[in-house]
C-alpha cells in the first residue's frame, strides 16, 4: 500500500493544465497556491474528527494512469434504457482522455448541453466563467483547492430557461487503478423554470488493497435558477481499494426545488460533503441519503442545508446500514441565517447496525440565527428490532430472509425517490450487500 503522505505540494501546473483562457489559467494557479499554502484540516474540527485528512493527500507522482470504469455492464443496461426511452443520454467521463456521449439527441434538440467541461470552457465560456469555482473553491477547503488546480476534465450540463428534460441524464465517471489519482469536476447550470434529472455515478478505482489505493478527488457545482426543478443522484460504487473525496454544493433560487440523493456503497475510504444553499424565497430542498457499509469501509458523510432566504424549506433523511467492521460518520448541519425568516427545516439520521463490530457516529447539528423558524432533527441508532424479527420468524420466515425483509423495509422510503431506471440496481446493491450475513 502506498505510504500516507502528510506533506505534499502541487508542483508547477503542466502545460496541459495551463491550456485554455487566461481566466481559467489564473484560477487554477490561484487554487494551486491556495492548496500549497493551506495547512491540512485540523483533527480538532468536528468535520475531521473521524477521518484522518492525511489519507487524502495524494502521493507525489500519482497521475491518471489506466482508467477502469467497470462500466461494461452498466453500458449495456444504459443502452437498453436508452432504447426503451427511459433515459435521455449517457455521458462517460474517462478523465482527460475522453468524454463520450450516447443518446442526448432529443435533449440537444431542446437546447440541453451535456459535454466535456474542457470543451464548454470555449463553447459556453460565458456560463462557465461565471459559475465555475463559485461554490466549491479554495475557501471551501484544502482538498477543494486541489481539485480546483488539477481537474483534468469534467462534465458541463446546461438546461436553458423554460426547458424541462423529463428523462434522466446519466453520467459515468471512471477512476484509475492502484496508485493513480483522478480529479473529476461537474458544473451544472439549470435555467429559470427549467427541469433536469442527473444521475452521477462514480465507479472504477483500485480493486486490490495490496497493490495500492486509487485516489479520486471530485467537485460538483450545481446552480438552479428561480423556479427550477433539479434532481441529482450521486452514486458512489467505487472499487474496494479506492479513497475518494467529494464536495458537492448546489445553490437554488426563488421558488426552486432541489432533490439530492447520495447513495453510498463503494470505496474503502470515502468522505463526501453534500450541501444545498437555499438562496431565494420559497426555495425547497430535500435530501434522501442511503449508505450501506460492509467489510472495513470507512464512510464519512456530511450534509448541509443553508437557509439564506426567507420561507425556505428543507428536509434531510439520511439512512445508514452497517455490517462487518464498517464505520459510518455522519454529520449534518442545518444553518438558518439571521435574515431568513419563517423557514422550516427537518433532519433525520437513522442507523441500522447489523452485527457487532460496526461503528456509527452521528452528529446532526443546528445553527439557527433567528427566531422565526420551525426546526427539528432526530437521530436513532440500534440493531434490528428483535420484536420485528420475532414476528417474522413466528410466521415461518427463516432468520436470514427476515433480516433482508427488515432492511429492505428500512430503505424503501429512500428507494422510492430514486429515478426508475436506477432503482432496480440500487435495490440489487442492497441485496448483494446482505449476502452471507
Amino acid at each position: 500500500m502506498a505510504d500516507t503522505v502528510t506533506e505534499y505540494t502541487i508542483p508547477e501546473l503542466t502545460p496541459e493544465l495551463q491550456r485554455g483562457p487566461v481566466w481559467l489559467r489564473d484560477r487554477r494557479r490561484a487554487a494551486r497556491e491556495a492548496f500549497n499554502a493551506l495547512p491540512l484540516p485540523r483533527r480538532g474540527l468536528h468535520l475531521w474528527r473521524y477521518t484522518d485528512p492525511s489519507r487524502f493527500v495524494i502521493p507525489p507522482g500519482a497521475d491518471a494512469g489506466e482508467l477502469n470504469g467497470d462500466f461494461a455492464k452498466v453500458a449495456d443496461l444504459e443502452r437498453r434504457h436508452l432504447a426503451d426511452g427511459r433515459l435521455a443520454g449517457v455521458v462517460t467521463d474517462r478523465g482527460g482522455r475522453e468524454i463520450s456521449r450516447v443518446g442526448l439527441d432529443e435533449a440537444a434538440g431542446l437546447g440541453v448541453v451535456a459535454t466535456a467541461l474542457s470543451d464548454a470552457v470555449d463553447s459556453h465560456f460565458e456560463l462557465v466563467e461565471r459559475y465555475l469555482y463559485q461554490l466549491v473553491n479554495s475557501e471551501t477547503g484544502k482538498f477543494e483547492a486541489m481539485n480546483g488546480a488539477l481537474w483534468n476534465d469534467g462534465i458541463f450540463v446546461y438546461v436553458p430557461d423554460g426547458v424541462t428534460l423529463e428523462k434522466p441524464v446519466h453520467l459515468l465517471r471512471a477512476a484509475g487503478g492502484a496508485g493513480t489519482a483522478q480529479y473529476p469536476r461537474l458544473l451544472v447550470v439549470v435555467g429559470r423554470n427549467a427541469g433536469l434529472t442527473l444521475i452521477d455515478e462514480y465507479g472504477g478505482g483500485s480493486y486490490d488493497v495490496a497493490a495500492g489505493q486509487a485516489y479520486v478527488n471530485a467537485a460538483v457545482e450545481i446552480f438552479g435558477d428561480d423556479d427550477s426543478r433539479v434532481r441529482y443522484v450521486a452514486l458512489q460504487r467505487q472499487a474496494p481499494a479506492t479513497a475518494s473525496y467529494l464536495t458537492h454544493r448546489a445553490r437554488i433560487g426563488r421558488g426552486a426545488s432541489m432533490l439530492t440523493i447520495p447513495l453510498v456503497f463503494g470505496g474503502l475510504l470515502s468522505k463526501q460533503n453534500f450541501g444545498v444553499v437555499l438562496n431565494g424565497r420559497g426555495a425547497e430542498s430535500k435530501m434522501y441519503g442511503l449508505l450501506f457499509g460492509s467489510g472495513y469501509q470507512h464512510l464519512d458523510n456530511h450534509t448541509l442545508h443553508h437557509h439564506a432566504a426567507s420561507q425556505t424549506r428543507s428536509n434531510i433523511d439520511f439512512k445508514v446500514v452497517l455490517r462487518d467492521r464498517a464505520l459510518s460518520a455522519y454529520t449534518g448541519l442545518i444553518r438558518i441565517d439571521r435574515h431568513a425568516k419563517t423557514c422550516e427545516a427537518y433532519q433525520e439520521n437513522r442507523n441500522l447496525l447489523l452485527n457487532k463490530g460496526t461503528r456509527a457516529e452521528t452528529i446532526p447539528e443546528l445553527e439557527i440565527l433567528n427566531e422565526d423558524v420551525m426546526c427539528t432533527h432526530g437521530a436513532t441508532l440500534g440493531p434490528i428490532d428483535p420484536l420485528q424479527l420475532f414476528y417474522l420468524r413466528s410466521r415461518g420466515v427463516p432468520e436470514n430472509d427476515a433480516v433482508r425483509m427488515v432492511v429492505s423495509g428500512f430503505v424503501t422510503s429512500t428507494l422510492k425517490e430514486v429515478p426508475d431506471d436506477l432503482r432496480e440496481r440500487i435495490s440489487d446493491f442492497v441485496s448483494s450487500r446482505l449476502e452471507g450475513l
Binding site: 442507523n351 452521528t362 433567528n370 427566531e371 432526530g378 437521530a379
Partner: protein, 477 residues
C-alpha cells in the same frame, strides 16, 4: 464569629508568617494588591505554601500548570469570545479577606436592581455582590454541621477537606478529571481554591440536601473552585450549589472543576443554578463516575455570564449504572451559553437520559454541545437525548451540536431536537383569555422550563421563575 472561622483566620496569618520567612517578601498582602497578576510556577508554589499543603498536592499543581501552559485554547469553541481572555491580567489567588476590597457603590446598578426585585436580604446582597466576604447564616450552618458529623458525613470546603481528610482526597482527587483533560481543568488544578468536599459513608441516606450556600466563606464563590463528592456504597446524597440571584464578581475568569464519584449502588444528585454577572467567562469541567448500579443526576441551570462553557459528564463504568442530565440555559443580550451534556457508556446494561432546554433572547446565543459514547463492550444500553430550544427575538441564535459515537450494535440510541419560537397560536389563545401579550409569553416560557423547575427545591424554583420574569421584561441591564 465561630471557632471555625477564627481558626481559619489564625491559620492564614500563620501561613503568612511562614511565607514571609521562606521567601523574604516584606509585605505579601501588599504583593497581592499590587499585582500578582498572571501565572507562573512561583504563583503556584506560593498558593500551595500559603495553604500549607502536602508536597504531593504542590507537585500536582505544578504539573497541571505545565499542561495549562502547553495546551492550546479549544478550537471547536467560541474562540472569538475565548480569545478575549487575557490570562496575564488575572489574579489567580486572593485571600478571602481581600474580596472585601470593593464597596457597595462598585456593584453595577442592574445587579442591585435584581437583588431588589428578588427580595434578597441585605446581608446576602453584600455577599452576593462581592462586598462582604461572609454571609451570616452561621447558626443554621453550625447545627446542620453537628448533625452531619454525627452521621459520619464529611462536608467541608475543599481546603479543609485536604487538611482534615488527606487520605480520601489523595485517593480520589483528579481521578475523574485528570489535569491533562483540558486547558481549563489544568488551570483549575494548578490554582484551585475552595469548593466543597463531601464524603458520605456506606449505606447512609443524607436526608436534607447539602447546600454550598451554607458553607460560609468567600471561597464559596471562588474563582477556581474544586469540588469532590464521594458517595460510598449504597449511600445517597443531594448537593446544591449556587443560587438564582446574580453573583457579581470583578474576577472575570471562573473555572471550576467538579468531580463526583458514585460507588456501587449509591445515588448522587448535583443541582447547580448559576447566574454570574455579565463580565464573566465561566469555564467549568464537571464529571462523574457511576459504578455498578449507581445513579448520578446532574441538574444544571445556567443564566448570566458572558460565556459559559459547561458540559456535565457521566461515565457509566459499572454494570447497571444510570445517568441523567437535565440542563437549562438562558442566553440574554450579548451572552453565549455553550452548555451541554456528555454520557460515556463503558459497561453493559447502563442507561442514560439527557434533557436540554435553552432559551435565546435578543442577540443571545445558546448552544447545546453533547456527546454520547458507547463502548464496544457496553451492550444493552439505552440512551435518549432530547434538546428543545426556544428563540425569542429576531436576532436570537440557537445551535445544536450533539455527537453520538456508537461502537456496538446492541444498543438503543434516540436523539431529538426542536427549535422554535413562541407559537403564535398559543399566544393567541392566551391573549384571547385576557392576558397581555407579555404575560402570555412569560407563561409559555415558564411552561417550557417546567420540567427543569419542578426538579428544584421549592425556594429555588420560586426564585428562578421570578428571575425569568425579570429577564423576560428586559428590565435587567
Amino acid at each position: 464569629m465561630s471557632d471555625a472561622v477564627n481558626r481559619q483566620k489564625s491559620d492564614l496569618s500563620a501561613l503568612n508568617e511562614d511565607y514571609t520567612a521562606k521567601y523574604g517578601f516584606h509585605d505579601p498582602v501588599d504583593y497581592f494588591h499590587k499585582g500578582a497578576r498572571g501565572i507562573n510556577h512561583e504563583v503556584v508554589e506560593m498558593i500551595s505554601r500559603m495553604k500549607n499543603e502536602p508536597r504531593w498536592m504542590t507537585d500536582i499543581r505544578h504539573e497541571a500548570l505545565d499542561i495549562f501552559l502547553s495546551k492550546p485554547t479549544p478550537q471547536w469553541a467560541n474562540t472569538e469570545v475565548l480569545d478575549e481572555i487575557d490570562y496575564d491580567n488575572i489574579y489567580y489567588f486572593m485571600k478571602p479577606i481581600e474580596h472585601q476590597g470593593q464597596t457597595w457603590d462598585d456593584v453595577p446598578e442592574y445587579i442591585k436592581k435584581t437583588f431588589d426585585r428578588l427580595g434578597i436580604p441585605e446581608a446576602e446582597r453584600k455577599f452576593l455582590g462581592g462586598v462582604s466576604a461572609q454571609y451570616e447564616s452561621e447558626v443554621v450552618y453550625h447545627s446542620m454541621q453537628e448533625d452531619l458529623k454525627k452521621q459520619g458525613v464529611v462536608f467541608l470546603d475543599m481546603d479543609s477537606g485536604l487538611r482534615e481528610r488527606p487520605d480520601i482526597v489523595r485517593k480520589f482527587f483528579g481521578t475523574v478529571i485528570p489535569s491533562n483533560d483540558n486547558k481549563f481543568a489544568a488551570l483549575n488544578t494548578a490554582v484551585w481554591s475552595g469548593g466543597s468536599f463531601i464524603y458520605v459513608p456506606p449505606g447512609l441516606h443524607v436526608k436534607q440536601p447539602l447546600q454550598a450556600y451554607f458553607r460560609i466563606n468567600a471561597e464559596n464563590m471562588g474563582q477556581f473552585e474544586r469540588t469532590l463528592i464521594i458517595a460510598d456504597k449504597g449511600s445517597r446524597v443531594h448537593y446544591i450549589e449556587g443560587c438564582t440571584a446574580p453573583v457579581y464578581s470583578t474576577d472575570s475568569l471562573h473555572s471550576a472543576v467538579v468531580e463526583l464519584i458514585a460507588l456501587e449502588g449509591s445515588h448522587i444528585r448535583y443541582t447547580t443554578i448559576q447566574n454570574w454577572s455579565r463580565n464573566i467567562y465561566n469555564l467549568v469541567t464537571k464529571r462523574s463516575t457511576a459504578h455498578k448500579n449507581a445513579t448520578v443526576e446532574w441538574v444544571d441551570g445556567n443564566l448570566g455570564s458572558r460565556l459559559t462553557m459547561k458540559y456535565p459528564c457521566i461515565q457509566l463504568v459499572g454494570e447497571g449504572a444510570r445517568g441523567e442530565i437535565l440542563s437549562v440555559a438562558f442566553a440574554g443580550h450579548d451572552q453565549h451559553q455553550d452548555a451541554g451534556a456528555k454520557v460515556i457508556h463503558a459497561a453493559p446494561n447502563t442507561s442514560s437520559r439527557i434533557t436540554s432546554k435553552s432559551i435565546s433572547k435578543d442577540n443571545g446565543r445558546a448552544s447545546y454541545r453533547g456527546l454520547v459514547k458507547i463502548h464496544k463492550n457496553a451492550v444493552n444500553c439505552k440512551v435518549s437525548v432530547e434538546c428543545d430550544a426556544l428563540l425569542i427575538g429576531e436576532n436570537a441564535r440557537s445551535d445544536t451540536y450533539p455527537t453520538m459515537e456508537i461502537d456496538n450494535e446492541q444498543v438503543r440510541v434516540e436523539h431529538e431536537a426542536r427549535v422554535s419560537k413562541v407559537a403564535e397560536e398559543q399566544l393567541f389563545y392566551l391573549t384571547s383569555r385576557g392576558l397581555t401579550e407579555d404575560q402570555a409569553r412569560l407563561l409559555i416560557v415558564n411552561g417550557f422550563m417546567e420540567p427543569f423547575t419542578k426538579e428544584l427545591p421549592l425556594e429555588y424554583a420560586v426564585e428562578l421563575n421570578r428571575l425569568i420574569e425579570l429577564e423576560m421584561e428586559g428590565s435587567i441591564g
